[in-house]
């Protein structure tokens, strides 16, 4: 596949991500911060997010015990996750976290549990999407092309 085609594919893909709400404007901001001094900024931040989130999700899974749950701790974790996801623009994850926090305040364990599953699901989805995106980017770079700059036009 030649470069131009790959680039178009990339644009389409990222558009779809925005359309479907997986990513929001913050992700574009991250892309704007990537320049020749910092060529892998987006990948680095996203990888950091993945590591962080996985840890948080593990902790959350452990913390949400149907027998006895420390809501404060859970809230703290979810807060962290919300912060991280909003920082990179993972919109759906962030929304799920917001909902999670509300239920935490209510101290509703079943709801929390459900929210946790939701969050995990959203996280997995966005992770896959982002990994695909990065793979596409790598292909483009390997073929000698450059990543097109996106403009938020919708």
């Amino acid at each position: 596949m030649e470069v131009g085609q790959m680039q178009r594919q990339w644009v389409e893909y990222i558009r779809s991500l925005f359309m479907e709400g997986f990513l929001d404007g913050q992700f574009l901001q991250l892309q704007q911060l990537q320049d020749e001094n910092n060529p892998d900024f987006v990948v680095e931040v996203v990888s950091l997010f993945f590591d962080d989130s996985e840890k948080l999700l593990n902790d959350l899974t452990k913390a949400i015990d149907l027998k006895g749950t420390d809501f404060k701790r859970v809230d703290a974790h979810v807060h962290q996750l919300k912060g991280s996801s909003s920082s990179i623009g993972a919109q759906r994850v962030k929304n799920a976290c917001i909902a999670f926090r509300n239920y935490c305040e209510e101290q509703n364990i079943e709801a929390c549990f459900r929210c946790l599953q939701q969050v995990k699901q959203e996280y997995c989805l966005v992770k896959n999407k982002l990994e695909t995106l990065f793979r596409l980017e790598q292909q483009i770079m390997a073929a000698g092309g450059s990543i097109p700059t996106m403009e938020l036009s919708f």
């Binding site: 911060l33 950091l48 997010f49 703290a76 909003s86 920082s87």
Partner: protein, 741 residues
């Protein structure tokens, strides 16, 4: 038998006599025959014999004589006619040859004799040449020795080595028994034995310098033979039967550097000499030859030269050491001066702030007090206080300005400003004073004077104000006129300023401002003093006008910094005064404005858009958002340090950080506490970094909390690049930013 006509024996033959004659004739003939044979034999043997013809002749003569005598043998008895004939012919031939030979000999014998004389002559010549050869050889030997000695002597610049080498080499060359050097002592009254050849450590013999023999040697520039018994030559104990060898002494001039004057050669009277004494081996019957003496003289000269070189070297080394010492001292002095300057600058910087603060307090409060209800006496007092404090404030400012100007640490700002507005402002500032003094003031701006210029507005205004202020101050009545126009080179032809040149260019123009007043004037002699700081003119008129005398000095320095010139003219007391200055200002480029229009991101940034190197600290416990914020700030060019907790933040924060961004929506962690800590750590306001809170929290309570905790700003997350940029510029300009929530 017929009787023959030949000789006949007379009387009876004497038998004995006849016998003897017979024998003699025989021997004669034999000898005569053998002589030529011998001759031929020996001549053949010898290589050279020039007279062969003579030899033949002589041989013939002898042979014939021999033949004659031989034939004579037969004539003693009766002999036949043939014998007689043969005898006769032989005799005739012999006679002929003899005569010829006799004649030849007359020529030949002188030749032969002259050969002998020539031989003698040549022998003498050969002997002479031999002698000359001998002489030349000795001369060449001497020359070689001299060269070798010179080389040895001149190969070192060390005094001791030079002298030692001389003695050693001389001793070797001339096969001397002893060689000694006597040097004059410090007092110059004695000669001390300093070096000898054979004795390693000469005991300090001294000899008074005014001995007749020494004087004799010193007054002669050649080697002088001296007696072996004189004190300078008596170096070794005489061992009885030995005949001491001949002794020669020569002077060695010692040149002192002080002897050299620039134009003269050293005076003979101040010359000092050393004495070199050379002794031939005792009992050797050797005598001093002329060539040896010559050698000694040459060597002595060389030694003198070498010693003078050594002296010069010593001198230059000493001078160099001295210079180095001086250098070190100067360096130290320079460093001390620098330290002093630094100390003064520090002092001034501190005083700057410390002095101004109370001054402002006084002035502000006094003005406030003026607004209240006061009795006339109180009002008078307050006015005096105000006037004095204003004066003091001006003085402080002036002094500080001047010291910064002197350091060269003052730098002009360059910005585009409205030139016409500056003049109007000066006018409006000075108008009250002018109207109080009942003077009139006019301002004339030339039509070609640009409206906008690039330069330091504040300082230009200060200069104009100062000059105009002086004009007002020193005028009791009359008018003041201010003219401003663009200076062209022609207008400077009437040069008061012969070494000031206008360099025309497309980017600059020269502003010329002339302030004329009809006031008290200045004596022309005082004009140069005007621009010196603290100097006041002595005329009565100025005595009461106050002022520190710094104003014009500062103006001059500002004008100089603006690459211009300032001068004052006056015709005398009572005739008014004209102050003129020319400064270089930039022409604002039109193209800069058009560039601004193309900036795509429209945010109106009044302040900086470049935060290169700005040190900031980001505190956030969430790794992802911390990385994102850091990336944002790095993208804008800041130097970012991160901290993930309050403790870490407090450890890392320093007065170098200008802004601290902290995330305050961390549950369980009181971000406000950090603000308090920072306030505690940095008591001085200018050291403290600005504290900005980042929060995703949109309730009003957050803002109040932030303000109460002493934070300088609050921004809502998410933060975009543009938002951060405008936030930073706003923060750095106003030092506060609270986003509307």
């Amino acid at each position: 038998m017929e009787s023959c006509n030949c000789f006949e024996a007379q009387g009876p033959p004497d038998e004995l006599l006849m016998k003897y004659q017979y024998i003699s004739d025989f021997f004669i003939a034999l000898a005569y025959f053998s002589i030529p044979l011998e001759l031929i034999y020996f001549v053949k043997k010898s290589a050279v014999f020039p007279y062969r013809w003579v030899l033949v002749q002589f041989g013939a003569f002898i042979v014939l004589c021999g033949a004659t005598h031989l034939i004579n043998l037969w004539t003693f008895t009766m002999h036949s006619k043939t014998v007689a004939v043969v005898m006769t012919s032989a005799k005739v031939l012999t006679a002929a040859v003899s005569c010829v030979t006799a004649l030849m000999l007359v020529h030949i014998i002188p030749d032969l004799l002259s050969v002998k004389t020539r031989e003698l002559f040549l022998k003498n010549k050969a002997a002479e040449l031999d002698r000359e050869m001998g002489l030349i050889r000795t001369q060449e030997e001497t020359g070689r020795h001299v060269r070798m000695l010179t080389h040895e002597i001149r190969s070192t610049l060390d005094r001791h080595t030079i002298l030692k080498t001389t003695l050693v080499e001389l001793g070797r060359t001339l096969a001397l028994e002893e060689c000694a050097l006597w040097m004059p002592t410090r007092t110059g009254l004695e000669l001390q034995l300093t070096y000898t050849l054979r004795q390693q450590n000469p005991v300090g013999y001294t000899v008074p310098i005014h001995l007749p023999v020494i004087n004799q040697v010193f007054s002669n520039n050649r080697a002088v033979k001296i007696s072996p018994n004189c004190p300078v030559a008596r170096l070794r104990p005489l061992a009885g039967k030995y005949m001491p060898g001949e002794v020669v002494a020569i002077r060695v001039p010692l040149l002192h550097l002080s002897n050299f004057q620039i134009n003269d050669w050293p005076e003979l009277s101040t010359r000092r000499y050393a004495l070199m004494v050379l002794m031939l081996p005792s009992d050797s019957a050797r005598k001093w030859h002329v060539h040896e003496l010559e050698l000694v003289e040459v060597v002595a000269d060389q030694v003198a030269v070498a010693l003078s070189h050594a002296a010069i070297l010593e001198e230059s080394m000493r001078a160099r050491d001295l210079l180095m010492e001086q250098n070190v001292a100067l360096d130290l002095a320079r460093r001390e001066a620098e330290t002093a300057i630094h100390a003064r600058n520090d002092f001034l910087a501190v005083m700057n702030h410390e002095m101004r603060t109370p001054m402002h307090a006084i002035i502000a409060l006094s003005s406030l007090l003026q607004e209240t209800e006061l009795t006339p006496e109180q009002r008078l007092m307050i006015e005096t206080i105000l006037k004095s404090s204003n004066l003091l404030a001006t003085l402080i400012n002036d002094v500080l300005d001047l010291s910064r100007l002197e350091d060269g640490s003052l730098q002009l700002n360059a910005a585009t400003f409205n030139l016409h507005a500056v003049f109007r402002e000066v006018l409006s500032l000075i108008k009250p004073v002018v109207s109080v003094k009942k003077l009139s003031i006019t301002l004339n701006l030339a039509p070609d004077l640009p409206v906008y210029a690039v330069g330091d507005e504040k300082r230009l205004m200060q200069t104009i104000l100062n000059v105009v202020g002086n004009a007002v101050k020193f005028s009791k009545e009359g008018s003041i006129s201010i003219t401003a126009f663009v200076a062209k080179s022609e207008s400077l032809r009437d040069s008061r300023t012969p070494d000031f040149f206008l360099v025309p260019s497309d980017y600059h123009f020269y502003l010329r401002v002339q302030v004329k007043d009809s006031g008290s004037g200045i004596i022309p002699q005082d004009i140069p003093k005007l621009f010196t700081k603290f100097a006041q003119t002595q005329s009565l008129a100025t005595r009461n006008s106050g002022g520190s005398g710094l104003g014009l000095a500062i103006c001059k320095r500002f004008v100089n910094l603006m690459e211009g010139h300032i001068w004052i003219e006056s015709e005398g007391i009572g005739k008014g005064c004209t102050a003129t200055f020319i400064v270089k200002l930039g022409i604002p480029e039109r193209s800069n404005e058009s560039k601004l229009a193309f900036v795509p991101k429209a945010p109106v940034n009044h302040g900086q858009t470049n935060f290169l190197g700005l040190k900031v600290l980001v505190m956030d416990d969430n790794g992802v958002s911390r990385t994102v914020t850091k990336g944002l700030l790095v993208h804008l060019g800041c130097d970012v340090t991160t901290a993930s907790s309050i403790e870490e933040c407090m450890r890392v924060v320093s007065h170098e950080h200008k802004v601290v961004f902290m995330d305050v929506c961390m549950p369980g962690i009181d971000g406000y506490e950090l603000a308090v800590h920072i306030h505690e750590k940095f008591t001085k306001r200018q050291d403290r970094p600005l504290i900005v809170a980042l929060t995703g929290n949109t309730n009003k309570g957050t803002k109040d909390n932030c303000m109460r905790a002493g934070m300088d700003g609050l921004i809502l997350k998410p933060v975009s690049v543009d938002k951060m940029r405008s936030v930073l510029s706003e923060l750095l300009e106003h030092r506060v930013l609270f986003e509307v929530i």
